[in-house]
């Protein structure tokens, strides 16, 4: 009976960790997507200061979520997101419109992919 109680505790722990991580990752993806969208709009409007601010927001969100994110997500995927934003920041600093938009688009794609792979769906299960 002691083993069964241990198993129940472990199971509850696993479920709560999974649910917490799911909620955290969804919030992370929403925040990131929002800031990336705002950065894109700022670049389109030619406001590079604002674009730099939003891209910095993305880096801040990433840094803040780093602890739990690296415990959950594939590290290669996270590295791609981070280098993508850093590259976009450099393009913003040099005022390169096309490269900035391409880079921000790529990071948005990675974020969307991350969110999609965390969704509880039949496709993901199978």
């Amino acid at each position: 009976m002691r083993d069964v109680i241990t198993a129940i505790i472990i199971l509850v722990l696993i479920i709560s960790i999974s649910v917490t991580f799911y909620c955290l990752s969804m919030n992370f993806c929403n925040d990131m997507s929002e800031n990336l969208l705002l950065a894109k709009e700022a670049v389109e409007a030619g406001d590079y200061t604002l674009a730099a601010k939003y891209s910095q927001n993305c880096i801040d969100i990433l840094e803040k979520s780093n602890l739990w994110l690296s415990a959950m997500a594939n590290h290669e995927e996270l590295n791609s997101i981070k280098t993508g934003i850093l590259r976009a920041q450099q393009f913003i600093a040099f005022g390169d419109d096309e490269e900035t938009m391409a880079e921000l688009g790529e990071v948005s794609g990675l974020i969307n992919h991350f969110a999609a792979s965390e969704q509880i769906s039949v496709e993901n299960i199978f």
């Binding site: 069964v4 722990l13 960790i17 999974s18 415990a71 997500a73 590290h75």
Partner: protein, 168 residues
């Protein structure tokens, strides 16, 4: 490198913990589903151990889930005979009164030569000497020899000597 080292220690401790929970049985004594879980746990632990790209939790969560499932299954099979039958199967008689049951042997996909080999390993040279041979749920063959072929026990010896003394 140091990351791999630390990860290996963590996963090693987890695997030891899981094996400890699984019980004290050796591989030969494991039920089929327990053996499957053992293999899966060892395989799951190696992936995040080798590759630092995978988060540690991607190994820990499935291992812990398997352990809990194993505990629940063991508990349920202990409580219900039906569940035990589904999970572990039932012992199958392959020899009865010196006669091989080929139908059961075929069901188990057990070759005639394998059976003879198992009998020899069990210290029996002739099928006719066997009263009953059963393939247990863990795959081991239990052999029960006929009374005239079974070794002398203390009870037999007492019986023989008491009879002798009685005659005197």
């Amino acid at each position: 490198m140091i990351i791999t080292f630390i990860r290996t220690i963590i996963l090693y401790l987890l695997v030891v913990f899981s094996m400890r929970i699984m019980g004290k049985r050796t591989i030969g004594e494991l039920q089929p589903y327990e053996l499957v879980i053992d293999i899966m746990i060892s395989d799951l632990a190696t992936v995040p151990m080798q590759s630092t790209d995978f988060p540690l939790l991607s190994g820990i969560i499935p291992i812990l889930t398997l352990i809990t499932l194993e505990i629940f299954m063991s508990y349920l099979s202990l409580k219900s005979r039906k569940i035990r039958r589904v999970l572990c199967g039932e012992p199958t008689t392959v020899i009865k009164n010196g006669e091989i049951n080929y139908k059961n042997l075929k069901k188990l996909r057990f070759a005639h030569t394998d059976l003879l080999e198992e009998l020899r390993q069990g210290g029996c040279d002739d099928v006719k000497e066997v009263k009953r041979a059963v393939v247990e749920t863990n795959g081991k063959l239990s052999i029960l020899l006929k009374k005239e072929n079974s070794p002398l026990t203390k009870a037999d010896a007492i019986k023989i000597f008491s009879n002798k003394d009685g005659k005197k």
